[in-house]
Structures are given as structure tokens and as C-alpha cells.
């Protein structure tokens, strides 16, 4: 008998409003990214096209159809996926490492992927080869960090892991520097620089399948584990005492976050700040409970990266690298969040 229905869950109303805002951010990002550009598509064309996709209607103007389906569509899809993936991975890592200043590349995923990619460019591989090397580099770096962290027995395994990540990351950074130093300064170096700054410009429909697999698997895994992330964020001892198999869960969260980060970096290059800032925005919207913050981060992350990518495409005659825009936008947001400590993380 459930005669005495529990009081409404704490913060339920605030969370509902927060979710609504998060959904709006994603929706606005999608519409903006699809409509704005060198060939503007009107809202009406977009609706006609959508109607046609789900059977019925003529599908609007053929030009709009071509722009959206073959040019902007794949890029927008990739942007939403990459943004959501980085944000979810960042939220999970901030909980796991009990530190709100952690981002998805804390364990070296980005530096490993960067070394893989610049090596691919150095050896003149094709785009697919570069992406594969970047992906492999990201995974290998995190595996190395994890093995190093496990080999050193310490009372605080999480701290050792973070320190191992910093050490391996700087070594990989030196590797990237060496490859750039050796690279052909006229053909290869600009390509490396451009890739390291992050961009969705090179995304084509063929990229979507390899991106979608790992990103979907990792993101779904993290979404499923979100209820346990609360407990993991209490620290090793308390989590064990509450009955969580911490070793297993730590490996699962790291594996999932690494998968999505490496896949994102492989396709879009290094896009910083999303994984650091969006988790804070999500917590500000729906509260710190990971059960709510993780889905909210996915929505906001996808939407925010679409806004930024649209800006990158349209703000200047040439494309602005994403990494530069995310840093320019992320820094003030982060400073504002820091000043607003109480609400966002402490």
C-alpha cells in the first residue's frame, strides 16, 4: 500500500525547469545550425523538409534540401554528438575524481589522440587513417595512465591516477612538439595546427558511422551508471562501505569516457572547454544530483557546441577554429561560475 506518497523529491520543480531550459538550448542550437550559413534556409523550408522525411509533403525547395541533407546535416549531427559526448564524459570525470576542475582529457585521452593525429599527418595518411591513429592514441594513453596508476600502490588511488595522467600527458605533449618540429612546414605543419585547434569542417557523412558507434556506446553506458556516480563522488572508502564495487565502476566510467573522448577528438580534433564548463552549467540548471546532471549535460553540451560551430562557420569569411572559440566563450563562463561557487559546485 502506498497510502503515504512521499513528499515530492527534493528540487524536483527546479529540475523540471532546468530540463526544459536544457532541451530548449539543444533545440535552438539545432535550428540555428541548420538554418544559418552562407546559404540561409528559412524555418519554413526546414519544417517542409522534416515533414517530407516523415512521409508527406513535397520537401521544400530542392536547394534547401541539398544544403541540409548533404552539407549541414552531417556536420550538425556530428556537432551535437561530440558536444553531448564531451559534456557527459566531463560530468562523469568530475564526479569520479571529486574535482569540479577536471575535464574529460585529464587522463591523457586528448594528448594521446593529438600525438596519433599528428603522426598520421606526418606519415601522410588519408583522413580515415589519421582518425584511426588519433582514436588508438587516445585509448592507448588512458590505458597507459591506468596501468601506471594501478601499479603504484597508494592509499588514494584517484590522486595517483590524476598525477599519472599529468605525467603521461606532458610526455605525449613533448611527442607532439617533436613531430611538429620534424614536419614539413609548408604542407604538414598547417594541417597539424588546424587539426589541433579543432574543427567540424571536415566532417562528412562517412565519418558519422564510426563516430556514432563509440560515442553512443560510451554515452549510454555513462547514462546508465549515473545513479552510482553520486556514490562514487563520495570517495573510495565511503563508496565501498555503501556497497559499490568501486574498482569495477571506476574502470567502467573511465573506459566509457575515454571511448567517447577519443572518438570525438578523432573526428573533430581537440575541442577544449566543453567538457569542463558544460557540467557546471548542467548542475546550475538541475542541481548536483548526477542522476539529473548527466542527461542535462548531454542536452546542453550538444546545443552549446552547435551554437559555437555556427559561429565558427559564419562569424568571419574564413572558418574560425573551434578550439579558439570554445576557449574565448568558455573562459568568461567559467569565471562567472567560479564567482558563483555556492550554486554551481561547493
Amino acid at each position: 500500500m502506498t497510502t503515504k506518497r512521499a513528499l515530492p523529491r527534493a528540487g524536483a520543480k527546479r529540475a523540471t525547469i532546468g530540463y526544459a531550459i536544457a532541451c530548449l538550448v539543444l533545440l535552438a542550437g539545432l535550428v540555428l545550425a541548420l538554418c544559418v550559413g552562407r546559404y540561409p534556409v528559412s524555418g519554413r523550408d526546414l519544417l517542409d523538409l522534416l515533414a517530407a522525411q516523415f512521409g508527406g509533403g513535397a520537401g521544400g525547395s530542392p536547394a534547401a534540401q541539398a544544403v541540409i541533407l548533404s552539407v549541414r546535416g552531417p556536420r550538425v549531427l556530428a556537432g551535437a554528438l561530440v558536444g553531448a559526448a564531451l559534456a557527459v564524459a566531463g560530468t562523469a570525470f568530475q564526479g569520479l575524481f571529486r574535482n569540479p576542475l577536471v575535464s574529460p582529457d585529464i587522463l591523457g585521452a586528448s594528448s594521446g589522440a593529438a600525438l596519433g593525429a599528428v603522426l598520421g599527418i606526418y606519415f601522410s595518411f588519408n583522413v580515415f587513417g589519421i582518425e584511426l591513429l588519433a582514436f588508438a592514441g587516445g585509448l592507448a594513453a588512458v590505458v597507459a595512465v591506468y596501468l601506471l596508476g594501478s601499479a603504484i600502490r597508494a592509499r588514494d588511488p584517484v590522486l595517483v591516477l590524476v598525477l599519472a595522467g599529468i605525467v603521461i600527458g606532458s610526455l605525449l605533449g613533448a611527442g607532439v612538439g617533436l613531430v611538429k618540429y620534424l614536419a614539413d612546414p609548408y604542407n604538414q605543419l598547417p594541417a597539424m595546427t588546424f587539426w589541433l585547434l579543432g574543427s567540424l569542417a571536415a566532417v562528412n557523412p562517412a565519418d558519422l558511422a564510426p563516430l556514432f558507434g563509440p560515442v553512443a556506446a560510451g554515452t549510454i553506458g555513462l547514462l546508465l551508471l549515473r545513479h552510482r556516480m553520486n556514490v562514487m563522488s563520495l570517495g573510495e572508502e565511503e563508496a565501498i562501505a555503501l556497497g559499490v564495487p568501486t574498482r569495477l565502476l571506476r574502470v567502467a566510467i573511465i573506459a566509457a569516457a575515454t571511448l567517447v573522448t577519443s572518438a570525438s577528438v578523432a573526428v573533430a580534433g581537440i575541442i577544449g572547454w566543453i567538457g569542463l564548463v558544460v557540467p557546471h552549467l548542467a548542475r546550475a540548471l538541475v542541481g548536483p544530483d548526477f542522476a539529473r546532471a548527466v542527461p542535462a549535460a548531454a542536452l546542453v553540451g550538444g546545443g552549446l557546441l552547435l551554437f559555437i560551430d555556427t559561429l565558427a562557420r559564419t562569424a568571419a569569411p574564413i572558418e574560425i577554429p573551434l578550439g579558439i572559440l570554445t576557449a574565448a566563450i568558455g573562459t568568461p563562463i567559467f569565471i562567472w561560475l567560479l564567482a558563483d561557487v555556492q550554486r554551481s559546485w561547493s
Binding site: R9, A10, L242, G243, P288, D289
Partner: protein, 253 residues
């Protein structure tokens, strides 16, 4: 069902700090681990619930070896109340107590209505249902300790172990927490706690283990253990005893 440690050697890493410790906890009794700082009380506590592996000897719960139990099985039998902490994220009080239900949920599951009911029951039993929506980081130290107690209750264990349950609490909150701990034992839970204050052992516990330099130097009923001679030997300091109609209290002389 008892929680029992036999011939335990305890310590962190390779460093052994205590040997030959025998300890037993029965349901429905409150037991204190008393002794000076650095005597190995907290290490023994953590060894008994499997947070630190024993160097030698074994811990059993109801005759089953602790090392053979999964984290989940163990958490359904023993709850741990750590020293009051602030935490990184501003979870609501309700969310913190709900985490006590983790051992009753499958790995990927969301909390069920019965988990929410157990959470609410624990909050109400400790009289803090009104705090449910407040951020855990913004309530007082005494309230935080009650929240951690509620979390342990929501876990529905047979035993509760507490690490310095009244450390860093003001006088009024100490009294409240002491009362609640005593009430837990009266409902049939086995309660074990560490303290460096003999007065607290006196007020809560029925039995006491006196610890010094990693050894259990004496154990027995409170009235036999908490005498001036024994306490002076354990703390290596002179102690005064105040007696009045209401009871006894100890003061460092």
C-alpha cells in the same frame, strides 16, 4: 549473528600498527573503542568493515568470512558512518540518505519507490525530514552527522560502526547524536564506535575495548573498564573523577 575479529593484525599498506586483537560485537549492544589518538582505533574499525585488509587473522559476520562477501552483501550487513565531512558536491540531504540504498539496488538501476520510502523513514526517525531538500553542504555539523546516521539506517544493516561520531560537534549536538546512537542499539542494531573521550563511552556504551599502541589492553563492561586507574594507564596522564548523584564524569587533571 555477531561481527567478530579474531587475532587481527591491522595496519596501512605494509606498515603493521597493531597485533593480536580479538573483538566481538553482538546485536543490540553499543560498544566503544576507547583510547588515545594514534592508538589504532580507526584502523581497527576500518579493518572490521573491510575498508582495509587485515594483515593477519580474520573478520567474520554471522560466521561468514568478510573477505568472501561482495561489497553489496557486506553493505547490507554493516553500515559505516564516517567522520563528518563536507563533500565536493552540494547534494540535497535526501540524495545523501538515498545513497544508503545503493546496496539494495542493481548496478544500473534507478532508486525504486521502496528505496524512497526507506529514505523517508530514516529521515523521519531521526527527526530531520524537514531538511530533506536542503543542500548537505549548507547544514550544520550536527545536522550533517544526523544525516550520515540516517543514511546508515536507510541501508537497513545489522551493525553500524561509527568513526568518532561526536568529533567537531558542539555540546548540544553531541548530546543529540549520543541519544540517537543509544537508541539505535536499543532497536537491536549492534553499534560500535571509536572515541577518545571516556565520558562518551560512559554515556553510550555497555562494553568498552581499551586500545593503546595498537593493542587491545583490556575489555569488559563499562563500569569495570572506566576506572581512574585504568584510564590513567591507558592515557598515561593523571585523571580526576567527579561523582554526583546523577553519575560519574572524568576530567583530565
Amino acid at each position: 549473528m555477531t561481527l567478530e575479529g579474531r587475532r587481527l593484525a591491522i595496519g596501512h599498506g605494509r606498515h603493521v600498527i597493531g597485533r593480536d586483537i580479538d573483538i566481538v560485537l553482538h546485536p543490540g549492544e553499543a560498544v566503544a573503542l576507547l583510547g588515545p589518538n594514534g592508538g589504532g582505533k580507526t584502523t581497527l574499525l576500518k579493518t572490521l568493515i573491510g575498508l582495509i585488509p587485515a594483515h593477519d587473522g580474520e573478520v567474520t559476520i554471522g560466521g561468514r568470512k568478510l573477505t568472501r562477501l561482495s561489497a553489496r552483501e557486506r553493505a547490507r550487513l554493516v553500515a559505516y558512518v564516517p567522520q563528518v565531512h563536507v563533500g565536493t558536491f552540494a547534494f540535497s540531504v535526501e540524495t545523501v540518505v538515498l545513497m544508503g540504498r545503493t546496496a539494495h539496488m542493481p548496478l544500473f538501476a534507478r532508486p525504486s519507490p521502496s528505496d524512497h520510502d526507506a529514505t523517508r523513514a530514516a529521515l523521519e526517525r531521526l527527526g530531520i525530514a524537514g531538511l530533506a531538500a536542503r543542500p548537505y553542504t549548507e547544514i550544520s555539523g550536527g545536522e550533517r552527522q544526523l544525516v550520515l546516521l540516517a543514511r546508515a539506517l536507510a541501508q537497513r544493516p545489522r551493525f553500524i560502526v561509527l568513526d568518532e561520531p561526536t568529533a567537531n560537534l558542539d555540546f548540544g549536538n553531541q548530546g543529540k547524536v549520543i541519544g540517537e546512537i543509544r537508541a539505535l542499539a536499543q532497536t537491536g542494531l549492534g553499534v560500535l564506535f571509536t572515541t577518545h573521550d571516556p565520558n562518551q563511552a560512559l554515556r553510550i556504551a555497555a562494553r568498552v575495548y581499551l586500545m593503546r599502541h595498537g593493542r587491545c589492553v583490556a575489555d569488559g563492561p563499562v563500569q569495570d573498564m572506566l576506572t581512574r586507574e585504568r584510564l590513567e594507564a591507558v592515557y598515561d596522564a593523571p585523571i580526576r573523577v567527579l561523582s554526583a548523584a546523577g553519575g560519574t564524569a572524568f576530567l583530565p587533571a
